[in-house]
Amino acid sequence: MSDQEGQLITIIISGIFFAGLMSTFVIAIVVLHRQRQVQNRQKIDFLKSEYEKTLLNIENEIQQETLTYIGRELHDNVGQLLSVAKLNFSSQKPGKHIEGIEVLNQVIHEVRNLSKKLNLDWVELITIEEFLTQQLNKIRDTGFCETLLESDVILEELNKEQKLVLIRVIQESLNNAIKHAYPDRIEIRTIQQGADKKIQIKDYGIGFDTAVQSTGSGMYNLKKRMETIGGKFELKSEIGQGTEINLTLPQVNN
């Protein structure tokens, strides 16, 4: 074997070795990519199931609250109206019968309104701004505290599931303020920060130390729920300074 042939064989062998090394690298990349693909799919499935679980919980909570509200309305409002109608129809005076019919019409109207609350279709019919107004009006009407709503931006329409979660988070945030903060004023603002649109809920209540570990899981759940719809939940509070909650809305893909 000549020198040149020997060198050529050496080159071929080292070339094959090096090419083999590179091929191994590329094959390893493909295998690792497949593994990551599987992990990624599992993660997406897990997130999907978490999202569905959250939605189911929220639907149950809202339905439970609706049933409580309907029960209260049936007892306090419809029940009372029906008693008045009964009294009117029992009377011998002809004018009372006409009054009784009017009361019955009112009952029919109230029952129709209540029936609309039984399914969650109202979520699709109401805008977030309308919902905020309703909630603050309810608080103000009870005489619990003063309220203020300021809308600096128009909020984009979210899909039904996202809206359901957001509505529940807003409801819970307001419930927490009423139950625990004893505020003399609650303010809600819709604001734009960069590309993000936010709902800011501020109560002028007793506040709390955020550094102290909470025994409940309320705030953690609210944070997780906002994250499941692609939003963010941020809370700032100080003792005596009230509490501020910022809900960053998910980006709407047009």
């Binding site: 060198q7 080159i11 070339g15 090096f18 590329v26 990349i29 990519h33 693909q37």
Partner: protein, 258 residues
């Protein structure tokens, strides 16, 4: 005189047994050009296809021009003299230094920049900018003259191309968009793999070329075959990518084309 050189060059050019390498490159350019013209309007405006076609046509051009310079030694001597080389007027290294060591690595980095995820695009741009800045400074201080072997410039360019390839593979592993596709059905994957093979397999041979040409020219000739074959394969990969939209190949949509 010029016409005389050209006549000899053309007479010997089409002798396939002597010039098969150049004739294969020319054939690849013709096929690439046909498929480039056949590309749809949407693809024709894509930066990627223009860059690929540039690499193909430019490589074929400088390889042919390099061959022509061996016939037209007076033109070569003039250019060498202009660059300051009067000692070895037959050297055509200046051409390969400017093209194969500078323009082609930069083009490959630009192509890979289109494939990597947004996070790494900036990094590839920084590397490209640093490489060009380095080359300018490098020429100004005259560390390695442009007409001689430029090992440092070549090594740096090849290293940066290899780093860009690694960034592509990292994108493939990390970017959620890439995690949704099958890499084996991505042309970008195969092209970057070919670039990785080309630059890693030729890195040592090109770096040792100067020494080998002086001490063991037969070994240097043998090693040069690696460059030749891998060069053809990398251009074939480019032609396949340009032709792919018009061929019946089942491919996945590239996730991060710009």
């Amino acid at each position: 005189m010029q016409t005389h050189h050209l006549e000899i060059f053309l007479m010997e050019y089409f002798n396939f047994s002597q010039n098969w390498y150049l004739l294969i490159l020319d054939a690849l350019l013709i096929v690439g050009l046909i498929y480039f013209i056949l590309l749809g309007a949407e693809k024709r405006v894509s930066k990627l296809y223009w860059l690929l076609f540039f690499v193909l046509s430019f490589t074929v051009f400088y390889e042919n021009f390099g061959a022509y310079l061996t016939y037209n030694s007076s033109l070569n001597a003039h250019i060498n003299a202009f660059l300051g080389n009067t000692k070895n007027p037959n050297y055509n290294l200046w051409l390969y230094n400017l093209t194969g060591n500078v323009i082609i690595p930069c083009s490959y980095m630009l192509i890979i920049r289109l494939y990597v995820s947004h996070l790494y695009k900036k990094l590839v741009s920084v590397m490209l900018f640093s490489f060009i800045s380095f080359l300018i400074v490098f020429q100004l201080v005259k560390l390695e003259p442009v007409y001689g072997p430029q090992l440092i410039a070549y090594s740096l360019g090849a290293t940066l191309v290899l780093i860009s390839c690694i960034l592509f593979f990292i994108s493939l592993m990390k970017d959620p968009v890439y995690l949704e596709v099958n890499p084996l059905r991505l042309l970008s994957f195969w092209q970057v793999t070919v670039i990785l093979f080309y630059y890693s397999l030729t890195f040592l041979t090109n770096n040792s070329a100067e020494y080998l040409w002086k001490t063991q020219p037969s070994l240097a000739v043998s090693l040069n075959w690696i460059n030749v074959f891998l060069g053809i394969i990398s251009l074939m990969a480019i032609v396949i990518i340009i032709a792919a939209p018009n061929l019946n190949i089942k491919l996945e949509k590239e996730p991060t084309y710009v």
